[in-house]
């Protein structure tokens, strides 16, 4: 009986399992101009690490926001904004995690909208101006199918689904584990993946840690157009964190690799020139050599050739654990520089995903950071030009932030 009590309990918590969320910063298509009134929406996780509360705010630069008696109790764990609507999906142990839509009403109050039945997903990405594609990826070779669900975000419903055999995709005796989906142009989604063994006890081991792959999918039918590979770096991005592959303003695509334990390569950036589908062999940026031995953890594209990067702080530590400590830096992929952000705290990377929001001035980035000594979660505002971080609003009662978005009303 105890076992079944436990299943019950555990299953409940599994609502959280799998990975975090996505946000539209990764979408290279410029954010629509925010017309009229706007509000920030924050998805904050309660101190129990279970319940999620959707908070609205006019200003993230100062003061504090409390979860006490405040915020819509929500069930989403992956959040994405499309068509001025926030979509939150339940994940993990659930096989059919619904996706719920939220809008701001005429008074700027967040209200709950339609709920859709969607397969549980690990990440989601807004595509063009009307769609969201969710990815449900396998890391078990015994059940190697990964699937994609295309949602209509204007008239919310599933428009199509597609599935792939990841064992077959890898074609090397291991399985492909898709780290995330990135919208490249209006008719393609790029999916960087790594190869893993996918067996219990050796889930993440691989004989191919020194390779990076990207599967290029046609949108909207989600057929595989091409798979490209580069052996100069380890895999691109990090499972479910929806970062690491970015199409920048000039159309070039930059790919970031942490180089985790098992890889002999340094943490590096590679490039795919605009309009091509091959890694540019003339470009390689060794982040580790430039930063003095530090590896990149997660990036947010800001503008031009500049990225805000969270960097692992201990050069000697194998960055396998995402609980590793991080510090902020600005990476210029063209100049190949790493500039440490002034006043950046040293903090533990947030669980699964770092949600960020780049203001329309393309100068200011909002990023949540949990103070290592007080445990208080705050939104830090980083100025990309001065490379300076300033502490903004405190989110009292939160143990983490799953999404920072902005919507209009």
């Amino acid at each position: 009986m105890n076992r079944f009590n436990f299943f019950l309990l555990a299953g409940l918590f599994l609502g959280l399992a799998m990975t975090g969320c996505s946000d539209d910063d990764d979408n290279p298509i410029p954010d629509p101009e925010l017309i009229g009134n706007s509000k920030y929406i924050l998805a904050a996780v309660g101190s129990d690490q279970l319940s999620v509360y959707l908070l609205t705010a006019d200003d993230l630069s100062t003061g504090s926001l409390s979860l006490a008696g405040n915020g819509i109790e929500a069930e989403g764990f992956t959040f994405v904004t499309q068509n001025n609507t926030l979509f939150g999906s339940v994940f993990g142990g659930y096989s059919q995690g619904p996706t719920t839509a939220y809008n701001l009403d005429a008074n700027g109050k967040l209200v709950k909208g339609i709920t859709l039945n969607t397969p549980s997903c690990n990440f989601a990405v807004p595509v063009n101006k009307d769609a969201i594609v969710q990815g449900s990826v396998s890391y078990f070779v015994s059940s190697p199918t990964s699937s994609f669900t295309v949602l209509n975000a204007v008239n919310p419903q599933i428009t199509s689904t597609a599935s792939y055999d990841m064992f077959q995709m890898a074609g090397n005796g291991e399985m492909a584990y898709i780290n995330g989906l990135f919208s490249i142009g209006s008719d393609e989604l790029w999916a960087p993946y790594r190869c893993i063994k996918g067996v219990t006890g050796n889930q993440w081991g691989s004989d191919y840690m020194d390779s990076a792959w990207v599967a290029i999918f046609k949108y909207p039918d989600m057929t595989v157009k091409k798979i490209i590979r580069d052996n100069r770096t380890s895999f691109i991005g990090e499972g479910g964190s929806q970062q690491g592959l970015e199409k920048i303003d000039n159309g070039d695509i930059y790919a970031f690799s942490t180089a985790r334990q098992g890889s002999t390569k340094p943490s590096s950036v590679t490039r795919i020139k605009s309009g091509t589908e091959v890694f540019d062999q003339s470009y390689l940026f060794d982040i580790e050599a430039t930063s003095g031995g530090y590896k990149y953890a997660r990036v947010t594209y800001v503008e031009g050739t500049r990225f805000l990067s969270e960097m692992y702080t201990d050069a000697s530590i194998a960055p396998g654990a995402v609980s590793g400590l991080a510090k902020l830096a600005i990476i210029d992929v063209d100049k190949k520089t790493v500039t440490w952000v002034v006043n950046s705290p040293t903090y533990a990377l947030s669980l699964f995903i770092t949600p960020t929001y780049v203001e329309s001035d393309k100068e200011t980035i909002n990023i949540p950071i949990t103070d290592a000594s007080t445990g208080v979660v705050s939104i830090y505002r980083v100025n990309i030009s001065t490379a300076t971080a300033t502490k903004g609003v405190d989110i009292t009662g939160a143990s983490g932030i799953y999404a920072i978005e902005k919507m209009t009303y």
Binding site: N2, M18, S51, Y53, V90, S143, G205, T264, S323
Partner: protein
């Protein structure tokens, strides 16, 4: 009322003879009433001497060393006419003398305190305990889960219908903090085929619910209390057959029979079968499998069949020189359950299921007066060879209409509805429970208990046979040792103190990844990890009769609950990581209880009871999320302290033994007293918040009326009604989020009614029952809807007899 209750047992007088040592003069026998029920606490006195004895809970008495001569034996008991019998004693005589007492209707109205049932006696101990005498309920189709729900301080929460997964809370403790026992044996060893959601009520004689302090002889590492189901009444020859049929194609059969020959040869058999389609209607959102758009509908559950068959049999001897009881037994059983839904109704399954079996040999040994008089030894041992399995092999998505789609466009590709698995495992549970008790100088008794359990999980997934992790050691040896002393001054006062030692030793594994320096090829290997823990707890309990009919009970305990096997070893099926560093949870429990009963005139009787609790619990074992290579996993950690203050009250009124009206209410203030979360230095927002997802205010009301002589003088018709109320409570922390958006488990009110018609003094019984009379929407867990109105009929035949 009493007539009805006792009438369930049939009118046959036993000619039982206690085992007699030769050489001494011994008078022994059994005293029963006209219906065949043992008369408890009757005094048997040899006239002209001061020698005498009182009958035990089974109606037996024994008088030793009566001098030679001719005497009158006088039997007296409240509520019965006094009887006498002449005897003549020679040296070395062994005399069997049985009495059948006649009720004294006049006396019945005058007496207040009658012979006490075992259940009543337990309730007078210092422990905060409810003992439910099953006799009163044996004709109902109620299962043990529902019965516990009607007990103050206790809530069983089921995820659905018959056989469904359940969780419970007792005074704010849930899950593994409360332990279940079957005849003193820890039930967590039994697997799913023998659990309180399938044991028929007819198998139980009584259920003892210890709230808070658990007595020494139950060797439990419990934090919040324990439930002990006592079966196998000391009846000798009996046959109890029942069958019930009800809504949702529910069939339940139970056969309980026992035979004891004159020579002491004993056979006992409990067999039961449960089956249900559980296809009750639920109000759900039905998903369109193509568009994902939901439509609200009322549909039948379509994949929730449950069945189990279990046979518990034992064979042996009783009342021998070397053993008062020596039984060898085996429990054989199996269960199969479809899994209709996950923890939320939006997860619908059409093929997932679980199954398990139990193959458990057992040994029971009991010896009274071992080496010395009043030194009693009992030993129980068992070993469970049973397995458990989760089956999830079809790569489909279902909706509530039973429609499905393949999750892959390639029909040949493999997967599961949730996670593909055929993982089958044996836990190889063994348990050895030893109790030694010694009563000396009349008023003193010592109890020594040692409960040893072992766990050695071996499992394999035939879909993943080479899985190295499944082959690693998962062993756990747990030993709870207790020593208790009790002092019984008299009927008015008793007190006990006890000491318990909790010991656990665990063997697990650690995963290492290793990289070849030349080839850089990574490989995984495992090393063994051993851990052990040792804690000592203690406590005291006392009971005092303040004034006539007002009893006060108080107890205190410092106790531990050790981490469970899945908490230590993890479970790949539910993405749970192991944590070998878990410490036991600990708790200080204070309990205070008052019991007051009084008559009002000749016809009215009142019983009022109230218990207060105060608990301080530390290092709760709770799940947290952690990242494992970027994928979130659960892990159990020691975190959070909880303080509970609670009160429950129970009142019962009986009129002329025909009408009983009762009510109980429980209120528990269960608060989080973890001031700082994790390594935070600011006071937590949920500091002093009520613990979420736990019922805290609930109650039960019931009424029963019996009509004697309906159709025939020996027939009784009884009509009963039961109301269960649970106040609404939050799924998540109350302080967090805007109050109008919070997810709640709504207030619930369920009405049940039943009618029992007993013929021929309880030999034949017919029961009609309606549950959830007003078809209310009932939820025990968030959004998991339980069955609506249902009907059932139960037929029961009971006969108890003499040696033939």
């Amino acid at each position: 009322m009493k007539i009805l209750l006792t009438g369930i047992f049939c009118a046959f007088s036993f000619l039982g003879i206690a085992q007699i040592n030769s050489g001494k003069t011994i008078i022994a026998g059994i005293i029963k009433d006209k219906k065949g029920d043992p008369v408890i606490g009757a005094s048997v006195i040899i006239s002209k001497t001061k020698i005498g004895a009182a009958t035990d809970p089974n109606g037996y008495y024994i008088i030793k060393n009566t001098p030679k001569g001719t005497y009158e034996v006088v039997v007296k008991s409240l509520g019965f006419k006094t009887q006498t019998n002449s005897i003549s004693i020679q040296n070395g005589n062994q005399l069997s003398l049985n009495f059948i007492l006649e009720e004294d209707p006049k006396a019945l109205n005058e007496v207040i305190v009658q012979g006490k049932t075992t259940a009543r006696k337990i309730q007078e101990s210092g422990f905060n305990v409810n003992a439910i005498e099953i006799k009163k309920l044996i004709n109902t189709t109620t299962d043990i889960n529902q019965l516990l729900n009607r007990t103050s301080g206790m809530r069983i929460r089921e995820s659905g219908g018959l056989g469904s997964v359940f969780n419970f809370s007792m005074n704010g403790f849930t899950g593994n903090q409360v332990k279940f026992f079957l005849d003193g044996i820890p039930m967590d060893n039994f697997g799913t085929s023998l659990q309180i959601n399938n044991i028929p009520i007819n198998m139980a004689d009584r259920i003892e619910i210890y709230k808070g302090v658990v007595p020494v002889w139950l060797g439990a590492d419990a934090l919040g209390g324990a439930v002990n189901i006592v079966t196998n009444p000391n009846k000798k020859n009996y046959l109890d057959v029942s069958y019930s049929y009800g809504s949702f194609n529910t069939h339940r059969t139970a056969i309980n029979t026992g035979y004891t020959s004159k020579s002491g040869f004993t056979v006992q058999l409990n067999a039961f079968h449960n089956y249900s389609d559980n296809n009750y209607k639920v109000d759900v959102d039905v998903a369109n499998l193509t568009t994902g758009v939901y439509t609200s509908m009322r549909v039948r559950r379509f994949h929730d069949k449950y069945r189990n068959e279990t046979i518990i049999t034992s064979i042996g001897v009783t009342e021998k020189r070397y053993a008062d009881k020596l039984l060898l037994g085996i429990t054989l059983g199996q269960n199969k359950a479809d899994i209709q839904t996950g923890n939320r109704m939006f997860d619908v399954y059409g093929t997932r299921k679980r199954n398990g079996d139990i193959v458990m040999p057992s040994l029971k040994y009991l010896k009274n007066n071992l080496f010395a008089e009043n030194l009693k030894l009992s030993v129980s041992a068992n070993y469970n060879f049973g397995y458990e399995q989760l089956v999830d092999t079809l790569f489909r998505q279902y909706n509530w209409l039973g429609e499905y789609r393949n999750k892959s466009t390639n029909p040949n590709i493999l997967g599961g509805e949730l996670r593909r698995t055929l993982y089958k495992y044996k836990n190889n549970n063994a348990s050895l429970v030893t109790n030694l008790s010694y009563k000396f100088a009349e008023k003193h008794s010592l109890v020594l208990n040692n409960t040893f359990t072992s766990f050695n999980r071996k499992g394999k997934d035939e879909l993943d046979p080479e899985n190295e992790q499944n082959k690693q050691a998962r062993k756990n040896f747990k030993n709870v040792f207790g020593l208790g002393y009790q002092y019984n001054l008299n009927e008015r006062f008793n007190a006990s103190v006890f000491l318990k030692n909790y010991n656990q030793s665990t063997t697990g594994y650690q995963t290492h990844t290793w990289q070849d320096e030349i080839t850089y090829i990574e490989s995984t290997y495992y090393t063994r990890l051993k851990n052990s823990m040792n804690n000592t707890g203690y406590g005291a309990a006392t009971s005092y009769l303040l004034v006539n009919n007002l009893r006060i009970k108080a107890s205190y305990e410092k106790t531990y609950r050790l981490p469970e096997n899945t908490e230590l070893f993890g479970s790949p099926i539910i993405d749970l990581l192991p944590n070998f560093d878990l410490s036991p949870e600990s708790s200080s429990n204070y309990n205070l209880g008052l019991v007051y009963q009084f008559p009002l005139g000749k016809m009215h009787k009142f019983h009022i009871e109230s218990n207060m609790i105060y608990r301080n619990s530390k290092d709760f074992i709770r799940p947290t999320l952690t990242s494992y290579s970027g994928v979130s996993m659960l892990q159990m950690v020691n975190q959070r302290n909880v303080r509970t203050i609670g009160i429950d009250g129970e009142t019962r009124y009986t009129y002329n033994d025909a009408l009983t009206v009762g009510m109980n209410v429980s209120w528990q203030n269960i608060r989080n007293v973890t001031k700082y979360e994790d390594n935070s230095s600011t006071v937590s927002l949920i500091y002093k918040d009520r613990i979420p997802n736990m019922p805290y205010l609930y109650g039960n009301a019931n009424a029963q009326y019996s009509l004697k002589g309906v159709g025939n003088a020996n027939n009784i018709l009884s009509i009963g009604y039961n109301l269960t109320y649970v106040h609404e409570y939050y799924l998540n922390w109350p302080s967090l989020g805007a109050s109008n958006t919070k997810l709640i488990i709504p207030r619930q009110c369920q009405h049940d009614a039943n009618a029992v018609y007993s013929l021929k003094n309880g030999t034949y019984n017919i029961t009609l029952e309606c549950r959830n009379l007003f078809d209310a929407k009932i939820y025990d867990n968030f959004s998991l809807q339980k069955p609506g109105r249902s009907f059932s009929i139960k037929l029961r035949y009971f006969i108890a007899g003499n040696h033939k």
